[in-house]
Amino acid sequence: MIAGDTLDTRRDENPLGPAGDRIAPVLASLVPLADPGLEAMRQSGALVVGEITNPWPNAKTFHYPDGSHAIMFFSGLIDFYECVAGTLYGAANLDRDGKVTNAALSMGDVVGNLKVLFEAWTPEGIAQDRIARIAQTPLSPGHAELTALLGKMALSFILSHEFGHVLYYQPPEDENPPPGLTLQQEAESDRAGSRNLLLAAYPDGIAQQRMSIAGVMVALRALAVLGELGHKFGASHPPPLDRLNIVVRALRGICASERDFWALSTIAYAYDEQLESAGAKAVGKIPPRRYDHAIARLLAILDTIVKRRKPPEVLLAGMRVDFEGLPDEDLGVLAGMAAILFPETPVKTNDEEQDKIWAAMSAFLHDSIAGFPDRAREVFQFAFNPSNQKKG
């Protein structure tokens, strides 16, 4: 069909790099596609997906008169997200079952890399000579594996978004051009893309689910940071920050509970905060303090403490920035969400192992509140008081 032939032509024009088609494994991980119509098209060759060598940071869907569609990922976009993922994981300390592998990059490297990435986004596409300047400290095998997974998840989200362009496409029936997606449809493609990615990760366990949410959020936060740094994105799509908020709401909506959502999004928020903070520093601003980052941090710290990977005093040390820096209202939201996530009587689900961990986290938090700094203690005690919870 024309779609497959056109993809072949584009690849004949500019052969792929040594890594081959970097989107092939991304597509493979989503097959069979969640939408039966799309899956049927894929199997018949009416829907093809692949990388093409093009410096532009974009992915595009093309529609052809024989009813076929081609989703083409430009190499510039893949290079961009590979650099983002490498930078984020390069600056992370990995703790796998108590065995810690230290970060290869510093926070300063992250800030520097983001600046270079922004400068690499030129009118001619992603400038390879500038990409090459990004700190490329060799990653440990563990870091490299997770970098690849985060990058793959970010691209999976974008692919899932492009599927929306196929689903919404209407062949022209009169002389008017086929309508492009409206802002609402672009937003719905983001919603559907993030939902489908998370659903596809369910059979593979909680680690994959966490990484899928991280991929979605990193994909959009990286663009939002570029926007903060001054890049002007076109008006045909919602601004990246709006898109990020849309997918977060969508992901929250399909999680069975607040506990599920926050349990799955700790990695995502950690990188979201890292990107946002690096972006702020890159333009000389003080990184913002946000309650959602604080909630994710609280969960992550409690998790490491009850699993005995960190000593109990890490709770106060780790949360100090939030207890001191969050405005009153946001501190209230943090405490309120903590009260919902860690009720006096632990919640029982079908996952006994997780229930035990959450019960231990809850007990530890309840015991720790009395030792919080004054302002945080008052707010948390108020939120955790059953009579106040009933008042809402």
């Binding site: 024309i2 032939d5 032509t9 004949d12 024009e13 500019n14 532009w56 940071p57 974009n58 992915a59 595009k60 869907t61 093309f62 529609h63 052809y64 008169p65 024989d66 083409m72 976009l77 009118p123 001619e124 596409g125 974008i158 978004h161 492009e162 362009h165 496409y169 022209p172 029936e173 009169d174 002389e175 008017n176 051009p177 086929p178 492009g180 997606l181 663009l223 994105f233 076109g234 008006a235 045909s236 799509h237």
Partner: protein, 268 residues
Amino acid sequence: MSITGCRNDALVKLLNADGYQPLIFPRTGLVAPWVYTYKPSKQPPKKRQLVPQGPLSDFLPPGTPEPQRRSGQLGDIEHHETDNKSTSAAGSFLGDALKCIGITSAPKLDLSFVDGSDISFSFEQVTYDGLDASKVNLLMPLVDFNSYAKEEQAYLYIAYEYAFAGKLTMRAASSISASFTAKAFQIGAYLDLGAQGQAKVESETTISFAGTNGVTAAFACKIGRLEKRGKRWFFFATEDPGEGFLADEGELKPFLLERGVVLRVEEQ
């Protein structure tokens, strides 16, 4: 897909950047606009074939007035040379490039006298002639491609401007060998273009080739894609923008069948 020369050759890239699709035509006397099909052949290995279907006027009602033509010199392309080529690549390129200036059969093309010197080529006496793309679009309400089956219509294209060259020049690199200089003056022993053309030694490093009949031949075209919406055809001289994950930030490039290559037009 019949491709000649070297992929992404400097001259080909320059032509592409100016919106030209380099082509080898089996005949001279073409006048744009002209309709083509470009599609995979039905026979293995299913290479893409560019086949002329006839002048656009064949698909318009009789008596349709032709829009105003535009023509002129293409100086930038005239003086632009190909990448340096080895002897074997130069021989292949020369044979194909001669076809571009109307010399379709040369009895003898022996470049052994080059002795390993790097060789580059350029087209000279370059002109263009055709219609502005916007003028082609004005004809679209009148066009009738119903003689093609619906699935065939998806592969129709219109070449709306041709670039012509009157002369091909072959130059040796500055560090030419002594044998090249000496032997180049005995050119007839190595190059015989038959009745269609002649080779001429211009200097110690340069040989030129031209057709004998004085006819300039097309070596590239500007071509656009067609799209049928409802019952009406539309013509586009720019590439399909597609629908992106992000909004487009650059300008659309001119439409080309395939970048970086010279396509061979196949008569059927």
